[in-house]
């Protein structure tokens, strides 16, 4: 049973082709992360799944039914947190959720749903006075009405503070544990990495990669980056650098002030440290850094082709991460621009 199935889907608007030849399959029960920079076609794809927009070519099937012909039946079993939505300013939070419950002919208690998203205390206020994060929670409560088989969350953590984003992840996990399929789009990689079984990366309307988070990491190269704090004995460091360069499994060595940055295979780490110590370098401290999803994302969405090795991506990761976040103009603070860092002290 597939939850979402797109076959050869193309969507042309008057001035732009938003999605081209997209094949996408989301299996029932999985948590699927739909990644891509803004403008890649994520929202258009979701709009086609929800029958807000009709494909120019191809077929869209959701929960085994045709997205356009059976839209109402599909949405009866689907909960949606749309992107760029607005609330009814004059209606209260409770009225919103009660409306969703009635619309789905569900039996939920609106207050229980509001409590679940942490909005019960504000249930009697009109939604016009809600902050962006509260509106996001409100729409999530509406999406959860009727225990949907499929949850579609479009940029679910936009407007949420870190605590809110964490609660959002917990709700996604709880829904997945209940057996719901979760399809969520994001440019926030931290979110995807933490909860997704599988990730698809969309770029210019085409799916450029689809795999588990680990699988993607492998594809971009299983290398790690070592940052080694070395002393100021220039002669020993030069000698040690040469010795490390000569090692098997080391692809790149750079000097960065008092540190050496070494890209190497996972099993070469100890030999790198040993070679440095043999050359008389005082190794004060070192960190290893795994290629973060941020790096992978950049490799897939900005590079000409997916980078064959992680070298460039992981070294530039931190600097580029900020740029990627700025494209959206918000939520920068929520982006994890720390690579996975494990500290080893000696």
């Amino acid at each position: 049973m597939t939850a979402i199935e797109l076959r050869g889907v193309t969507k042309e608007f008057a001035d732009v082709t938003a999605v081209r030849g997209l094949d996408l399959t989301v299996e029932s029960g999985e948590v699927y992360g739909f990644l891509g920079p803004n403008g890649a076609g994520k929202s258009t794809t979701i709009d086609m799944v929800l029958d807000l927009v009709r494909p120019t070519e191809g077929t869209v099937r959701v929960l085994g039914q045709d997205a356009t012909a059976d839209g109402v039946a599909i949405r009866q079993r689907t909960g949606v947190l749309p992107d760029g939505f607005a609330v009814y300013d004059r209606l209260t939070g409770r009225q919103h959720v009660a409306f969703a419950v009635r619309s789905k002919d569900a039996a939920d208690d609106p207050d229980a749903l509001l409590d679940r998203v942490g909005l019960l205390d504000d249930a009697d206020r009109t939604a016009g006075g809600y902050s962006k994060g509260m509106r996001q929670r409100l729409a999530l409560a509406m999406a959860l009405a009727g225990d949907p088989d499929l949850l579609i969350l479009d940029e679910p953590s936009s407007g949420l503070d870190p605590a809110g984003a964490k609660e959002m992840r917990e709700i996604v996990r709880a829904e997945a544990d209940r057996g719901a399929t979760v399809f969520f789009s994001s440019h926030l990689l931290e979110q995807v990495e933490a909860v997704c079984d599988r990730v698809g990366i969309l770029r210019d309307g085409e799916l450029v990669a689809e795999d588990s988070v680990e699988g993607l990491r492998e594809a971009v190269g299983g290398e790690e980056t070592l940052e080694i704090a070395v002393g100021d004995d220039a002669e020993a460091v030069d000698e040690g650098t040469a010795a490390v360069r000569a090692l098997d499994g080391v692809s790149r060595v750079d000097r960065d002030g008092d540190a050496l940055v070494v890209s190497c295979a996972d099993d070469a780490k100890t030999r790198v440290i040993a070679a440095l110590e043999d050359a008389g370098v005082a190794v004060a401290d070192f960190h290893t850094r795994e290629a973060s999803l941020e790096d992978l994302f950049l490799a897939y969405t900005e590079g000409e082709t997916p980078a064959p090795s992680a070298d460039d991506a992981s070294e530039d990761g931190d600097a580029d991460a900020d740029t990627a976040g700025d494209e959206d103009g918000e939520d920068n603070d929520a982006i994890s621009d720390d690579a996975d860092t494990e500290e080893v002290s000696r």
């Binding site: 608007f13 709009d47 929800l50 029958d51 807000l52 927009v53 009709r54 839209g71 109402v72 039946a73 949405r75 009866q76 689907t78 949606v80 749309p82 760029g84 939505f85 607005a86 609330v87 009814y88 004059r90 209606l91 009225q95 409306f99 969703a100 009635r102 619309s103 789905k104 729409a139 509406m142 999406a143 579609i152």
Partner: protein
């Protein structure tokens, strides 16, 4: 079918609309003022004081121009406004068909407008009742008064339906407003001028047909919802509703009111259903 939840939601939303409340308050004050100022006191008219007031003053100068305007204010942003703001995404992510959205909104907003019209007639009703008690007005006919509010509400609902139709068809609120105001200008302000021109220009076409100028003119009067409602309400106030000499005209007027309530939303839905949102 999810008409009921949408109708209820839109009713709750529309009754809190400041624009509608302001217009209804204005309307209510004006009707009350008319009741005080122009209460008919002439000889022989005492028996029909309520009817005269409603038909010749309140109807002509307040209901006909103002109630359709309230209807447009309530209706024009029903769908285009949600489309522009983005709340339509929230609405259509729930299991509603687009037809349910259009007709649910006609029902919900029509009900909100009806409530507003009844509320708007409450203050003038109290004023008239007080005038009767103090002897300033010879007779206050409660039945006529309440009955008349029904016709006023019907007129408003027709304009809600027309402007919801524009709202469904238009991609922006501005276009929906322009279309709705255009219909208002045509039906409320220009109808007799336009149809007069039409009758003159078309006399060459009409003459060979087995209908008279007079019959076409009567049909055109019934075709306009404002004159249709005037026709029916004056028949009601004269005790001749769906009876008497104008029976055929009244039936035409009723049919046309039904037509104007259903056709514009259907045409709007036809466009809305095919649109990428």
């Amino acid at each position: 079918m999810t008409l009921a939840p949408i109708a209820k939601k839109d009713f709750q939303d529309a009754v809190r609309s400041r624009g509608m409340l302001a217009l209804v308050a204005l309307f209510s004050l004006l009707v009350a003022a008319f009741a005080v100022v122009v209460r008919p006191t002439g000889q022989g008219t005492e028996q029909f004081a309520t009817e005269l007031l409603l038909q010749f003053f309140v109807g002509r100068f307040l209901v006909t121009p103002l109630v359709p305007l309230v209807g447009i204010v309530v209706g024009y942003n029903a769908i285009s406004g949600e489309r522009e703001s983005g709340s339509l995404k929230l609405l259509l992510s729930l299991p509603h068909s687009r037809a349910d959205v259009v007709f649910g909104k006609v029902i919900g907003r029509g009900a909100a407008l009806s409530l507003a019209v009844f509320t708007g007639f409450l203050l003038p009703g109290l004023v008239l009742f007080a005038l009767e008690q103090t002897g300033a007005l010879a007779a206050f006919n409660v039945g006529s008064f309440l009955g008349y509010t029904v016709f006023a509400a019907v007129l408003g609902v027709v304009f809600v339906a027309i402007s919801v139709g524009f709202s469904a068809a238009a991609s922006t609120q501005r276009r929906a407003l322009i279309g709705s105001v255009g219909i208002y200008v045509l039906f409320v302000l220009l109808w007799s001028a336009v149809t007069g021109q039409f009758l003159n220009a078309a006399s060459g076409v009409i003459d060979p047909l087995p209908v008279s100028q007079q019959q076409v003119s009567v049909f055109l009067q019934a075709a306009n919802p404002t004159s249709g409602v005037e026709l029916l309400s004056s028949a009601f106030l004269g005790g001749q509703l769906l009876a008497g000499e104008t029976l055929n005209q009244q039936i035409s007027a009723v049919s046309m009111l039904v037509f104007w309530t259903i056709a514009p939303p259907l045409v709007g839905l036809w466009t809305f259903d095919a649109a990428d949102l």
